[in-house]
Symmetry: C2
């Protein structure tokens, strides 16, 4: 049972984990040099509590901590209760969602373990925007993808804003770096995956055709603007596209991914 | 041919249209009380120049104004050229995209005109988030929708942030309020549209089934969280869903819309 502890002073050292959160997820002093896992809001805090990340503490207003009662019954972490005003002062920005949880990073599945269990995988390359990467994980969860293998240039899925935009799904969808690059793509083929590059290029086939073929798919996704590198495109078995109206440049990468996940994994 | 005019002082009255842009699109002194149409960045400025909105002026750094040379050749508006620093001071926030254009609002197509030309329409209800509404327009453009009919509670598609997130597609995809509500939905049915409500409710049919039926579709889309009102659901002919993995709450409204547009309009 989580212990409820009232916090009444902004400089209470027991809530040091929650200070300066807009920069804390970049703290070089943390294991791995990448900082805590931070969950904001009851939905995401619930997902963090359900994950295998070791939760250190919660901080929230009374009403939000009460909402989490069922989930907190089974865990032994301090839940610091404070006012909305004091909470804003402690974390360094105004927070509407009223509850935060902080966890340590934890060892993740390897790429090999993810590949062994998956039928459809997302392989983003160069998706450096935290919100796009978070949205991609949310969409991967919605369509039941087996995991996300991160190519070079992707941001950290456990960065605070990615966790938030993903609605906590970065804590549920397994991910790992795919290394070395692009040779890792060849090893996916050896495991029976077709490597498909999502690209508007003229020689690409409509998604529906690829979906009709069935089988295991690893879907390469590039960032908006530059798109996939020639390296990645060259390693793909097939190029696929989301059919679009004339004269429209492109969809946001996470949105294009959602359409592809729907078509390839959502049946 | 647009006239290039160098601006060297922050208080130059010729660039008054560009001041305080973070609030200017709420100016009550403008016709209709809703302020200018503001385009940010070369892609969106191009779309504004190609639209029928009467452009008043551009403001930008030399490099960006030069990039717009071909589009500016055919128009008679002043293009104010300044430094990045002065531009930030004039508009009131730092602007990375280096060019802005301001236009007056203009009379739009009526709902009746849009309905007469469309096969697939989006009908958002209560989508008050500017970014979600902008993204919805971007996705509507990508899949060639015939237009967007705005139910109650939607934000203004021409608000600055919506214009930006839509990548300027609010300037291309026709839209109009659907009034009265929900009786306007009945008039859509009289015009041969099936009114389909996108909702995760248990009695909904998978999108693919609806798509296979063909015909004209008006797709009702509710906001994340509250979803569609009972009023809107009651007026629909059919409830449809994006099939999702177990235990995942929902997609972002614009993302769910993209999947639906792909399935219903993207063939």
């Amino acid at each position: 049972m989580a212990q409820r502890i009232s916090v009444q002073k902004v400089d209470d050292p027991r809530v040091d984990d929650f200070r300066h959160l807009s920069t804390a997820d970049r703290r070089p002093d943390r294991p791995g040099g990448r900082g805590f896992v931070i969950a904001e809001g009851t939905v995401v805090v619930r997902r963090l509590l359900a994950s295998d990340y070791p939760v250190r503490a919660l901080l929230g207003v009374a009403r939000r901590i009460e909402e989490l009662e069922p989930e907190l019954a089974g865990v032994d972490v301090p839940a610091y209760v404070t006012s909305a005003e004091l909470m804003a002062e402690i974390v360094g920005f105004h927070l509407n969602r009223g509850v935060l949880a902080v966890a340590d990073r934890a060892p993740r599945s390897s790429a090999g373990e993810i590949v062994a269990r998956a039928r459809v995988l997302a392989v983003p390359e160069g998706v450096g925007d935290h919100e796009n990467l978070g949205a991609l994980f949310r969409n991967a969860a919605a369509f039941g993808l087996g995991g996300v293998l991160l190519g070079p240039g992707c941001s950290d899925p456990l960065y605070r804003r990615s966790v938030r935009v993903s609605m906590g799904n970065v804590l549920r969808v397994p991910f790992a770096p795919l290394e070395p690059w692009p040779a890792g793509l060849t090893s996916l083929k050896e495991k029976g995956f077709r490597v498909a590059a999502l690209t508007p290029r003229a020689d690409s086939v409509p998604l529906r055709e690829l979906a009709a073929d069935g089988g295991k798919i690893a879907l390469l996704l590039g960032s908006e603007g530059p798109g996939l590198t020639e390296e990645a495109l060259g390693a793909a078995d097939v190029a696929v596209r989301v059919p679009m109206a004339e004269g429209v440049d492109s969809l946001n990468v996470a949105t294009a991914a959602a359409v592809a996940f729907y078509e390839l994994a959502g049946r």
